[in-house]
Structure formats: structure tokens, C-alpha cells
């Protein structure tokens, strides 16, 4: 799992780390595969991704091209189903029923169940071995808070992987985050690092 909505809230430093590692045949769960040559788009060019599960690959036209060439498997989910399946995976829910997608091409092969007279689709939980996420501040215990719409998929991914690595703008001392405002409590977080590659108005830069 890799957080972010496009490049917004994506763990760009961790992704760059992946591009330098000799890893192949990755399955990536992420809303998008970055942009052409940016973020997860670099991994795509390196052909390190075997399969991607997401909701909107259109933001990187190279995904469709790689798909046509048979270089990558894609599983497309409605964005709410993508988020909910991860939430289920993190919360010990094996699967759930949603109305989203009923009667569409994305429902093909999926079980339908009537609940209170309305049709729902069965969707399975999603989990990952590793989640790479982006937050704003962490304390040294691993409690996290986020920044504006860079929050997006990050808190839910933090719950749904065996190993959770969070890239943050700043690591602060324990006690500097209010117990009421922590969004991701530290029990979800395994490793922390400070971001070196960040999204700015001028694009992605090293800071």
C-alpha cells in the first residue's frame, strides 16, 4: 500500500527508496500510480509493478499503455470501495456489502445479496505486507497527525498492513501532539522517517 491522492500526500521519499531497490513483481495498492515519471510512475517505468489495485489510473497515461502491452495487471475499484476494503482489512472485517457498483461492469463476477430489499455487492477486505504512508507530524512514539487534503488514504492504510512506515515533515517529542487530535495512534506505526522529497507549488523537489 502506498498513500496519496496522486502526488498529494504520497510518501515521495519512500517511493524513491523503492526505485533504488532491487525489488520486482510488486503488487501496489494505491489510488493511482502517480503521474507519468513521478511518484509511483517511476516504479511503473522500471517495470517493478506486476499488479496494481486502485481507483483512478487515468492520471498516469503510461499505466494504460503498460496494461495494453500486457506488462501489468490492474484491478479497478470504485474509490469508496478501495478505501472501505482497506478499512475492513485494518479493522478485522473479512468482507462487507456495499451498494456501490451494483449493476455495473465493475460488479462482474461479484456476489450480490439483497439486504432490506436492496441489492448490495460483496467486497473482500484488503491488506498489505507493507504500507508506505505520508503524515505531517509524528511524535517519537509514532502518533501521527496529517496536513489538509494530504491526509486522504494514509490513515486507513496505516491500519491495514503488517509493517507501516510513515514519512513525515517533522518528528516531535512525546507530549507535543494533543491526545485529542492524534489521528493515527502509535500502535499502528512501526517506522518513521523525515521526508526528503516533497511536493511544492513548483512540483516535486528535494528539501
Amino acid at each position: 500500500m502506498v498513500g496519496g491522492f496522486g502526488l498529494v500526500g504520497a510518501p515521495l521519499t519512500l517511493i524513491e527508496g523503492l526505485t533504488r531497490k532491487d525489488l520486482n513483481e510488486l503488487t501496489i495498492i494505491s489510488n493511482n500510480l502517480g503521474e507519468a515519471g513521478e511518484g509511483l510512475g517511476v516504479l511503473l517505468r522500471q517495470r517493478k509493478i506486476r499488479k496494481a489495485i486502485g481507483s483512478y489510473f487515468t492520471s498516469n497515461r503510461e499505466v494504460g499503455e503498460a496494461y495494453q502491452r500486457g506488462e501489468i495487471d490492474l484491478q479497478l475499484l470504485p474509490q469508496g470501495t478501495l478505501a472501505e476494503s482497506m478499512r475492513a482489512g485494518g479493522a478485522g472485517i473479512g468482507g462487507y456489502y456495499t451498494k456501490t457498483g451494483v449493476g455495473t461492469e465493475l460488479a462482474l463476477g461479484k456476489e450480490i445479496r439483497e439486504i432490506n430489499g436492496e441489492p448490495y455487492l460483496f467486497e473482500q477486505a484488503l491488506r498489505a505486507d507493507v504500507a508506505l504512508i505520508r503524515a505531517h507530524k509524528a511524535d517519537t512514539l509514532g502518533n501521527l497527525i496529517y496536513y489538509k487534503t494530504a491526509r486522504n488514504f494514509n490513515p486507513v492504510m496505516a491500519t491495514a498492513a503488517d509493517l507501516v512506515i510513515a514519512e513525515v515533515d517533522e518528528i516531535v517529542g512525546v507530549g507535543e501532539l494533543s491526545a485529542e487530535e492524534v489521528v493515527t495512534p502509535h500502535l499502528f506505526v512501526d517506522r518513521l522517517l523525515v521526508a526528503e522529497k516533497i511536493l511544492t507549488k513548483e512540483g516535486v523537489v528535494y528539501r
Binding site: Q79, G80, L106
Partner: protein, 213 residues
């Protein structure tokens, strides 16, 4: 007819006049995004599925404060940020009053296709399916014709449907339709457009409501 930009603004302005506060409104990508600037009612709050209730016009662009189209936006006083999981809980759970969406095609029962074009490398659905099943009211804003001059209001969609749910209203630069009992009802002609023009440019069957031009 005027330029594409003018057509889009005309449709957006008409859609804005449908909104009444207090309400929570989600705006899709494209024409719907233009709606916000015509809304002055402070009791109308805009929701974006990437995690913000209280979207406003951008003042100073912040790369980490964007809408679902990844365009920079501003944040209203009294706004709230939340995760994608919570945001789609709001959408599916019926907490959004109105969704204004774009469409590639609309069929004559009011169902839309707006996420895929067979044969093209568009592999994305985003939040469209969730908004269609969850929003209390769905308004579609779209140009009446394709670039090739064909009616987007068709007997049946040739592109894959986004949902089995019919939308509630369709606003184009030519006319406004309500959808009642899965039937299109023409309720309004846009300024300078004749009934004959709408008939000629609409493949879908529609009923003529008691409208004023």
C-alpha cells in the same frame, strides 16, 4: 452558439441556481467545478471526496489542499478534514445532499455513463459510482452534444453505465430535464433555444413538461 467556455459557464450558472442552503454539495470534475463560483449562499457547503468539507475558491495555492480533480482549492472557515474512508462513508451513507456530476452519455431513463470509453486507455472510476448510489440528489451537467455533434442524451448508453440509479436532473446548454419515474421530462429551455432545436438534438425520448422558455 458561443464558445465551449461560455457554454460551460452557462450550464454551471444554471446548476448553481438549483442549490439552496443549508445543504452539502459534492462537485465532480469538469463543468461541476465551475458551479461553486456562482454560489453565494453561505449555508451551502462543498464536500470533496478526497477529504474536505468546506471547499472554497483558492486564495493562495497550497499543493496539499486540492479537490477531487487535484486542482488547488481553499478552505472555508468552519471546515473539516478527514480520511478517504470517512469521506466515502459520508457519501455512501447518505450524508451528501446534492452531487453535481459530468456525464459522457445519459440514457432516456436518466442513467448515466461517465467513467469509461470502450477501447480507450481510460482506466479510472474514482468516486463517481459512490456518489451516484449515495447522494440524495444527483444533477448532471453536460454539453448537449458531443464534439462530433451527436446527442449525449441517448436512447441507451453505448458506454458502460456508472450506476443503475437514475439521476434527478440534467442541465445542458439547451435545456433542463427532470427525471421522473425513470423518464426524462423537459422542464426548461435555455435562453434563446427553441423546443424544435431541443427535439432535433436529443436522441432520447422525453416528455414535455409544463415549461417556460
Amino acid at each position: 452558439m458561443s464558445s465551449i467556455a461560455n457554454v460551460q459557464e452557462l450550464i454551471a450558472k444554471r446548476a448553481a441556481s438549483e442549490l439552496k442552503g443549508p445543504s452539502v454539495v459534492n462537485l465532480g470534475i469538469g463543468i461541476p467545478t465551475l458551479v461553486a463560483k456562482y454560489v453565494k449562499d453561505e449555508l451551502i457547503h462543498f464536500h470533496t471526496e478526497n477529504g474536505l468539507l468546506g471547499v472554497t475558491d483558492v486564495e493562495e495555492a497550497d499543493p496539499n489542499l486540492v479537490n477531487a480533480g487535484k486542482l488547488p482549492v481553499g478552505e472555508q472557515v468552519g471546515a473539516a478534514f478527514f480520511s478517504s474512508a470517512e469521506s466515502f462513508g459520508m457519501i455512501r451513507g447518505g450524508h451528501i445532499d446534492v452531487a453535481i456530476l459530468g456525464a459522457l452519455q445519459v440514457d432516456e431513463t436518466g442513467r448515466i455513463a461517465n467513467w469509461a470509453i470502450p477501447g480507450k486507455n481510460i482506466i479510472g472510476v474514482g468516486g463517481a459510482m459512490d456518489l451516484l448510489v449515495g447522494a440524495k440528489k444527483v444533477i448532471v451537467t453536460t454539453s448537449h452534444l458531443t464534439k462530433g455533434g451527436k446527442s449525449k442524451l441517448m436512447k441507451a448508453c453505448t458506454f458502460p453505465l456508472t450506476s443503475t440509479r437514475s439521476v434527478d436532473m440534467i442541465i445542458t446548454e439547451m435545456a433542463v430535464f427532470s427525471v421522473l419515474n425513470e423518464q426524462l421530462v423537459l422542464t426548461e429551455l435555455m435562453p434563446g433555444v427553441t423546443l424544435e432545436q431541443v427535439r432535433k438534438n436529443t436522441e432520447a425520448q422525453f416528455v414535455e413538461g409544463g415549461f417556460s422558455s
